[in-house]
C-alpha cells in the first residue's frame, strides 16, 4: 500500500509539473494581498470554462490587467478559477479558495445565486471585494454588477423575432442552465414580450447544459418534435458556435434571433438564418470588471451606480464588417477574413 501511494504521489507531482504554471494567459502568483497597494490579485470565476463567451471575458480581463499594470504602476494579476462546467457549489468552493489564497477581489458570474450568496458574503466579510457580471447575485454583499437587463434582453429577442415573422408563427425559446438566474429572467422577458403578439405561439422553453454541441442537438430534437416551428428565440447563442445548424435550418422557413455574436456565429448572420444577433460585448465583462475592481481596491472609488448597465449591439448584415473588426480589436484571432474585408 505504501509503495502504491508513493507512486501515486510521484505520478501526481510529475503530471503537475508537466502541466506548467499558469497555462494560457494566466499570470504569476501574487505576493501581495490586502494592504499591498503595488499588487492586486483578482479571481475571475465565470460559469464554465467551456463556454466561449467567458473565454472572451477572460481575454478582456487579462488585457485590462496588463494595461493597468503598465500605466498605473499597480501589478494586477487575474487568476482564472472558472469551473470546467456549470456548478454553483463548485463556484462557492472557488470563492473560498480565492479568499484563502489571498485574492484581493473576485469577479464572478453566478450559476446559482442561492448557493453563492453565503459564499460571497463570507468573502466580503473577510475583506475581499466582490463584483458580479452577466448573472448577478443581488441578495449578496457584492458591491456592483455589470451586465444587461435580462428581462429587457429577453423581450428584445422576442420583439426582433416577431418583426421578422410579421407577428405570427410557432416559436421556441432556447434557454440554457435552468438554475441560472439571468437566463430565467431572459426567458421571462421573452414570454412576456410574446404576449404582445397574439399570432405568436410559444411551443416551449428548452434547456440544455450550455455546450454548443448539446445546444445544437436540442434545437434539432425540438425541430423534429415540432415540425411547424418558424422561429427560435435564443436567449444565448450556444448552438450557433457550431456549424451544425447552418445546413439544418432553411432561412426561408425559419428565423433565429439570438443573444451574442462571437466570430463563429457570424456565418448565421451572413446566410440569413439569424438576421439579427443581439451582441453582448462580452469582452467588456472582463475589461470593465477588472477596472472597476481595481478602482475599488486601489483607489477606493465606487462605480457611479451599483448596477452598471451593458448595452446590447444589434448585429445584422448591415454592420457585419464593423462588428467583425471590433471583435478583432478585442483580441479575437478567429474572425473570418471575409467579414473583416466587408465595407460595413
Amino acid at each position: 500500500m505504501a509503495k502504491r501511494m508513493t507512486s501515486t504521489l510521484a505520478a501526481t507531482l510529475l503530471l503537475m509539473a508537466a502541466c506548467g504554471k499558469g497555462g494560457e494567459g494566466n499570470t504569476q502568483r501574487a505576493q501581495g494581498g490586502a494592504g499591498n497597494d503595488s499588487a492586486i490579485t483578482i479571481a475571475l470565476i465565470a460559469k464554465s470554462s467551456s463556454n466561449p463567451v467567458f473565454l472572451a471575458a477572460r481575454t478582456g480581463a487579462e488585457a485590462a490587467a496588463k494595461d493597468i499594470s503598465e500605466k498605473q504602476g499597480v501589478k494586477v494579476t487575474v487568476n482564472w478559477m472558472t469551473p470546467p462546467q456549470e456548478d454553483g457549489q463548485v463556484q462557492a468552493q472557488r470563492i473560498q479558495q480565492a479568499v484563502n489564497g489571498g485574492a484581493d477581489g473576485i469577479l464572478i458570474s453566478s450559476s446559482d445565486a442561492g448557493k453563492l450568496t453565503g459564499a460571497i458574503n463570507d468573502a466580503v466579510d473577510r475583506g475581499v471585494e466582490v463584483m458580479t457580471f452577466d448573472s448577478d447575485v443581488p441578495q449578496s454583499k457584492r458591491f456592483a454588477f455589470y451586465g444587461v437587463d435580462d428581462v429587457k434582453t429577453g423581450a428584445a429577442v422576442m420583439d426582433e423575432l416577431a418583426k421578422l415573422l410579421d407577428g405570427k408563427g410557432r416559436v421556441a425559446i432556447l434557454a440554457g442552465n435552468q438554475n441560472a438566474p439571468n437566463l430565467q429572467r431572459r426567458v421571462q422577458g421573452a414570454r412576456d414580450a410574446a404576449k404582445k403578439y397574439p399570432g405568436i405561439e410559444i411551443v416551449g422553453a428548452f434547456n440544455h447544459i450550455e455546450t454548443p454541441q448539446d445546444a445544437a442537438a436540442e434545437v434539432t430534437r425540438v425541430n423534429n418534435a415540432y415540425p411547424g416551428i418558424s422561429g427560435w428565440a435564443m436567449i444565448g447563442a450556444w448552438p450557433l458556435f457550431t456549424q451544425a445548424l447552418l445546413k439544418d435550418i432553411d432561412p426561408k422557413r425559419m428565423k433565429v434571433v439570438a443573444v451574442d455574436a462571437l466570430p463563429a456565429e457570424l456565418p448565421y448572420v451572413e446566410k440569413g438564418i439569424a438576421p439579427v444577433l443581439l451582441a453582448q460585448p462580452v469582452y467588456m465583462w472582463g475589461d470593465v470588471g477588472v477596472r472597476t475592481l481595481v478602482d475599488r481596491i486601489h483607489a477606493k472609488k465606487n462605480p457611479p451606480q451599483q448596477t452598471i448597465p451593458m448595452e446590447l449591439v444589434r448585429v445584422t448584415n448591415d454592420n457585419l464588417g464593423t462588428w467583425a473588426r471590433q471583435l478583432r480589436d478585442w483580441g479575437f484571432t478567429d474572425v473570418p477574413q471575409k467579414y473583416l474585408d466587408l465595407q460595413k
Binding site: 504521489l9 505520478a11 490586502a34 470546467p84 489564497g101 489571498g102 445565486a113
Partner: protein, 372 residues
C-alpha cells in the same frame, strides 16, 4: 497414538528459553502497520510539498504574512470540500466491499436536498433546532428509501447493480428535476446557521462538515470491523458461494449495503444543501465518479471483499488535495481532470500488481513447502 486420542502437550523442558513477551507498539508503529499507512504518508508528503511551494499573502485581519496553503482557512476548506465526497464514499465503499457498485449517489443527493428544501419552504420559518431535525430526518429518510429501492431491485430483478443504479441515477435525478420544477430552492437561514456554526473559531472557519465526516468515518469503521453485519459484508464480497453455504442471508446483506449507501448520500445532501444555502436538481452531477474514485484510491477493491471507511475518507481527502494543489500552485486548471484521472489509474494498477505479486509469492511458498 490411537486415532482421535487427545494427547497432552508435553511440558516444556525446564531450561528452555521463555518466549519473548509481546512488545507494546507505539502509536506511530500502529499507524505504520495499518492498511492506510501509505495513504497517510502520501497526504502528509503532499501537504509538505504544497506548503513549501505555495507562497504567501498578507492576512487581512492581522496584516501578518501567511502561507497560501498552510493556514487554518485553507486547511478547513480542504477538509470541508472533502467531507461531502468522503461521507458518500464511506457508503460507496460498503457497497464495493460487497462486490457491488452504486452509481446513483449523486442523484440521491440531489433528490434528498430538493425534497428537504421544498418541505422546509412549505413549512415556513422555524427555529434552528426543529428546522435541522426536520431537515436531517427528510434527507436521511429519502436516502434510505432510495437505497432500499436500489437494493430491492438488484435482489428482486437479479440484475447487476451497475445497471440498476445506472437507471436509478437517471430516474431519481429526473424526479428531483420534476418536483423542483428545475428551480434552485433556498434553505432557511437558520439551517445554514447550524452547518456553518463556528463554535467560537475565527471568522470563515466552519468545522461542522469536517466533524461530521470524522464521526461518520468512525461509525463506518466500527460497523465494518466490530459488527456481525460488517463481517457478513466482507464475507459476501469475498466469496458469495461460501457465504451462501455458510447460511448468510445474502438478500438482506445486498439490500442493507445499498441502504447504507443511500443513507450516507442523504447525510451528505443535508450537509451540502444547508452549508451552501440551496438545493437544486442539478446538484452533485458527476459526484458518483469522485465518490467511487475516493473509495478505490482508499483501498476498496472493485472485485469485492476489501475496503475500509478510513481509507475512503483518506481517498476523498487525497483527491481534494490534488484539486487544491492545482489552484494553490496556480497551475493550468484545465489539467485537473487529467491529473486526477492519471493518479487514480496509477494507484489502482500498482495495487493490482502488488496483489498479484503477493498471490504469486504465496503460491510459490506453498509449492515449495509441498515439495519439501
Amino acid at each position: 497414538m490411537a486415532h482421535g486420542t487427545v494427547t497432552e502437550v508435553p511440558a516444556a523442558p525446564k531450561n528452555a528459553p521463555q518466549p519473548a513477551a509481546p512488545r507494546s507498539r507505539t502509536i506511530a508503529q500502529r499507524i505504520a502497520g495499518t492498511q492506510e499507512a501509505g495513504l497517510i504518508l502520501v497526504i502528509v508528503l503532499l501537504t509538505i510539498v504544497l506548503t513549501l511551494l505555495a507562497g504567501e499573502h498578507a492576512d487581512r485581519r492581522t496584516g501578518e504574512m501567511v502561507n497560501n496553503f498552510w493556514n487554518a482557512n485553507t486547511l478547513m476548506q480542504v477538509a470541508t470540500d472533502a467531507s461531502f465526497f468522503a461521507i458518500m464514499a464511506i457508503g460507496a465503499t460498503i457497497v464495493i466491499i460487497s462486490g457491488g457498485i452504486d452509481l446513483s449517489v449523486g442523484s440521491i443527493y440531489a433528490l434528498a436536498g430538493v425534497t428537504m428544501a421544498m418541505l422546509l419552504r412549505a413549512l415556513g420559518p422555524s427555529g434552528a433546532v426543529p428546522t435541522a431535525l426536520i431537515g436531517i430526518v427528510v434527507c436521511v429518510g429519502i436516502g434510505l428509501l432510495c437505497g432500499i429501492l436500489n437494493g430491492a431491485l438488484v435482489v428482486g430483478l437479479r440484475v447487476h447493480p451497475f445497471i440498476i443504479t445506472l437507471g436509478s441515477m437517471w430516474v431519481l435525478r429526473g424526479i428531483a428535476f420534476v418536483i423542483s420544477k428545475a428551480e434552485s430552492i433556498l434553505v432557511p437561514q437558520s439551517l445554514t446557521g447550524v452547518t456553518k456554526a463556528s463554535f467560537g473559531l475565527p471568522p470563515g472557519l466552519y468545522p461542522v462538515p469536517m466533524l461530521t465526516m470524522i464521526a461518520i468515518a468512525a461509525v463506518g469503521t466500527l460497523y465494518l470491523t466490530r459488527t456481525v453485519m460488517g463481517r457478513h459484508i466482507f464475507a459476501f464480497g469475498g466469496n458469495v458461494e461460501a457465504s451462501r453455504f455458510a447460511g448468510l442471508r445474502l438478500d438482506r446483506i445486498q439490500i442493507g449495503v445499498f441502504a447504507v449507501s443511500g443513507l450516507t448520500a442523504g447525510i451528505s445532501a443535508f450537509l451540502g444543501a444547508s452549508y451552501f444555502g440551496s438545493a437544486s436538481s442539478g446538484d452533485a452531477q458527476g459526484y458518483e465518479l469522485y465518490v467511487i474514485a475516493s473509495a478505490v484510491v482508499g483501498g476498496a477493491s472493485l472485485t469485492g471483499g476489501r475496503g475500509t471507511a478510513l481509507g475512503a475518507t483518506l481517498g476523498a481527502l487525497l483527491i481534494v488535495l490534488i484539486r487544491q494543489s492545482i489552484r494553490t500552485l496556480h497551475l493550468d486548471q484545465n489539467y485537473e481532470w487529467i491529473v486526477i484521472g492519471c493518479a487514480i489509474i496509477v494507484a489502482v494498477v500498482i495495487d493490482q500488481w502488488s496483489t498479484r505479486a503477493a498471490a504469486r509469492r504465496l503460491a510459490q511458498a506453498a509449492a515449495a513447502s509441498r515439495a519439501a
